[in-house]
């Protein structure tokens, strides 16, 4: 009994430490990512991007964060106050948990090793849409409501091909443990799962854009149609939390993509977390590249792409993988 108690205590402490560490990690990453996004956008658009605060504008996002925290939190008239302010937290909190099972490096750099790591991440990342739905409903704003309705339809739709493409890898490796999936891949690019299952990787990348509401699938917050979609009415850190959740979710899906398809922390030389981060940031750059290049798709087109193409394709892929793994 005593041994079990100690065991639980150790696990709990480990989880608390990991959550605090991941909060800091998310904070730093969001600061870097927002700056990166603005710089990338600037380069794509023939302008330097933020340049005034700090050398080459490197402290711009920090200044923006301070500004955002200092802003008044305004609740719109007729809004459901409790739900309205619960929504950003409900959106943000699950993302933090999603970081837990990610193997950032060889040994101790995993927050909490779980056998069902992939399932845990997918489960918690689909909670995020719940917060968006709450935000849209409680804002008492019709644009927000439409944004929320879009977000729900989109997330529900894109989770399916995402899940199916992840399952294809799970079938191949025979495990849902992210550490084991990393261990199953070699150091060189042709030993990674992306070389074995390029179709699954393609489906994963497209669905990951849909799942994180990034352009060209950023319909829940399509500003030329819905002003700002579900977060139209949010000010200050209310908006800030949505913003952080979006970027943190991007880091999560890119990390999952790195672990499943790109060999995780393994690299040709000097295995370690730096390879993991480099690959994650490579994927993030691709996401930004898409955003600043493509127009936005229409909503029915978005759902058509998913239900008519991605889902059947992912199902076929899964069947093929299952056949190859079990029979051949």
């Amino acid at each position: 009994m005593n041994v079990l108690g100690i065991h639980i205590a150790v696990e709990l402490i480990q989880i608390v430490v990991a959550v605090v560490a991941f909060l800091a990690f998310i904070g730093v990453n969001v600061l870097v990512l927002v700056l990166m996004e603005r710089k990338v956008a600037g380069r794509f658009q023939r302008r330097p991007g933020p340049y005034e605060v700090g050398p080459h504008g490197s402290l711009q996002t920090l200044a923006d964060a301070v500004k955002m925290m200092a802003k008044e939190l305004h609740t719109p008239r007729g809004a459901d106050k409790v739900l309205f302010w619960a929504a950003p937290i409900v959106t943000f909190a699950p993302v933090v948990v999603s970081f837990m099972p990610l193997p950032f490096g060889p040994k101790y750099l995993t927050g909490w090793e779980v056998n069902l790591g992939v399932v845990l991440i997918l489960a918690f990342s689909s909670l995020g849409v719940f917060g968006i739905c709450l935000a849209g409903w409680s804002s008492n704003n019709k644009w927000s409501l439409i944004g929320a309705a879009r977000a729900v339809a989109q997330s529900v739709a894109y989770e399916i091909p995402l899940l199916l493409s992840v399952l294809a890898i799970a079938f191949q490796v025979g495990s849902l443990n992210l550490t084991e999936i990393t261990a199953g891949q070699g150091s060189w690019p042709w030993q990674w799962n992306v070389a074995v299952q390029p179709l699954a990787f393609f489906i994963f990348v497209v669905s990951m854009l849909g799942e994180t509401n990034r352009a060209p699938f950023d319909l829940p917050e399509a500003e030329s149609e819905l002003t700002a979609g579900f977060h139209t009415e949010y000010s200050g850190m209310g908006f800030g939390l949505f913003f952080m959740a979006e970027y943190a979710a991007m880091v999560v899906v890119c990390s999952v993509g790195t672990v499943l398809f790109l060999g995780g922390w393994k690299g040709p030389v000097f295995d370690g977390p730096w390879w993991f981060l480099a690959k994650v940031y490579g994927l993030l750059f691709v996401m930004m590249w898409f955003r600043w290049t493509f127009p936005r798709v229409r909503f029915d087109q978005l759902l058509n792409i998913n239900w008519k193409w991605l889902t059947p394709l992912a199902l076929l892929n899964l069947l093929a993988v299952a056949f190859l793994v079990k029979v051949v």
């Binding site: 007729g78 030329s224 229409r298």
Partner: protein, 388 residues
């Protein structure tokens, strides 16, 4: 009164409250604008939505009404000229031209030949800059953020050139009764040639980068088709009409100035043209404008930029005159009525955007919200021009 009830009566205004209830109770009345990112200015559209499908769309105008027509009655002929740059700030020189042309017609003033060529060159350059703004803004509506920066980069060159001759960058007041205010400089002529050359390489790049993009095509094709009958009923002109396959261009149909001396084509779309046709017509028009500019620059005749007989002090006879030019958005008409006094008795401004906007209500019926944004953008509206 209970608070919820008070809230209900307080919400909305004359327009939303007077909208007749829809066929079902599941619809939503939604205000798009006057402060909405894709109504470009202060256009307001009252939408009735069923889910994301539009049941009804009613534009509400007047948020930037500045009484331009009334101002014409209280200002002298010359004093009213600067107003013209403010009616449509994107194609200001076409409005300059329409008004100046009407006054010249009314008073029988002749224009020097060099000035006619300069007018053609500057007005065509202004048309390209207007199309650039439309292009960037339209793609912004469709969710592509980058093209507007490229468009503004090219437009910047153009504005720098126009600044040399006109002295301003946006609200030009360059044309005068009987000519233009300043002669072109060699710097301008050379710069314009170089700019034309640059544009010839830029336009194919835009086609490859943007026009041929599959997402853009899917967002524009078969969206907002306008058939001939519809265009006629609402009096659509400009690229909106030409996008539906009618080769009506004031520069050809009622040639004014020296347009009959240049070789240029009138790009048209297919019958029942959609947003993509209107898009392609505007892109092709930019190329045609480049042709006109180059021809006019090569043949630029020497001479004064003001006709010798142009009156120093304008004395308008009794009578009326109507003059129409082809603006970037369509047929711009100025109808002047004079009673022989210092001021015009009445000025009527025909804004093409106003007629083109009236198509929207019918086009938007039954489409998705995102398509309505696409249609609105394809009509190329400038709200100050519509409200006048």
């Amino acid at each position: 009164m209970r608070p919820e009830e008070a809230f209900r009566t307080l919400s909305g205004d004359f327009y939303t409250r007077s909208l007749q209830p829809g066929p079902t109770e599941d619809t939503l009345i939604l205000n798009m604008g006057p402060q909405h990112p894709s109504t470009h200015g202060v256009l307001r559209i009252v939408l009735e939505l069923d889910g994301e499908y539009i049941v009804r769309a009613e534009p509400v105008l007047g948020y930037i009404h500045r009484m331009h027509e009334k101002m014409g009655e209280v200002k002298t002929f010359a004093q009213y000229l600067p107003n013209m740059g403010r009616v449509d700030y994107l194609h200001a020189l076409a409005w300059n031209w329409a008004y100046v042309g009407a006054v010249e017609k009314l008073c029988g003033i002749e224009v020097s030949e060099r000035a006619e060529y300069i007018r053609v060159i500057t007005a065509e350059m202004n048309r390209i800059s207007s199309h650039f703004v439309w292009w960037g803004a339209y793609l912004l509506d469709l969710g592509a953020f980058t093209p507007i920066m490229y468009a503004f980069d090219d437009r910047e060159w153009l504005l720098d050139l126009l600044q040399i001759v006109t002295g301003s960058r946006l609200t030009y007041c360059y044309f005068r009764f009987g000519g233009v205010s300043d002669d072109v400089t060699p710097e301008f002529v050379e710069g314009t040639f170089r700019w034309c050359e640059r544009m010839r390489s830029r336009l194919p790049m835009y086609k490859a980068l943007v026009t041929d993009n599959i997402i853009l095509r899917k967002r524009c094709e078969e969206i907002g088709p306008i058939d001939l009958d519809m265009a006629r009923r609402y009096g659509a002109t400009g690229p909106v009409l030409r996008g539906s396959g009618v080769a009506y261009d004031v520069r050809r149909a009622e040639p004014y100035s020296v347009y009959d001396r240049f070789h240029f084509e009138i790009p048209v779309g297919k019958a029942g043209g959609d947003a993509m046709d209107r898009y392609l017509v505007r892109m092709a028009e930019m190329e045609q404008s480049l042709n006109i500019i180059e021809q006019a620059l090569r043949r630029l005749p020497p001479g004064p930029v003001m006709h010798e007989k142009a009156p120093k002090r304008l004395k308008a006879p009794k009578g009326e005159a109507y003059f129409a030019v082809e603006g970037a958005r369509g047929k711009i008409g100025v109808h002047l009525v004079s009673d022989g006094g210092k001021n015009p008795y009445r000025v009527k401004l025909r804004a093409p955007g106003f007629s083109n906007l009236s198509l929207f209500s019918e086009l938007a019926k039954g489409v998705l919200l995102a398509d309505a944004v696409s249609i609105l953008g394809s009509l190329d509206l400038v709200i100050p021009e519509i409200d006048r």
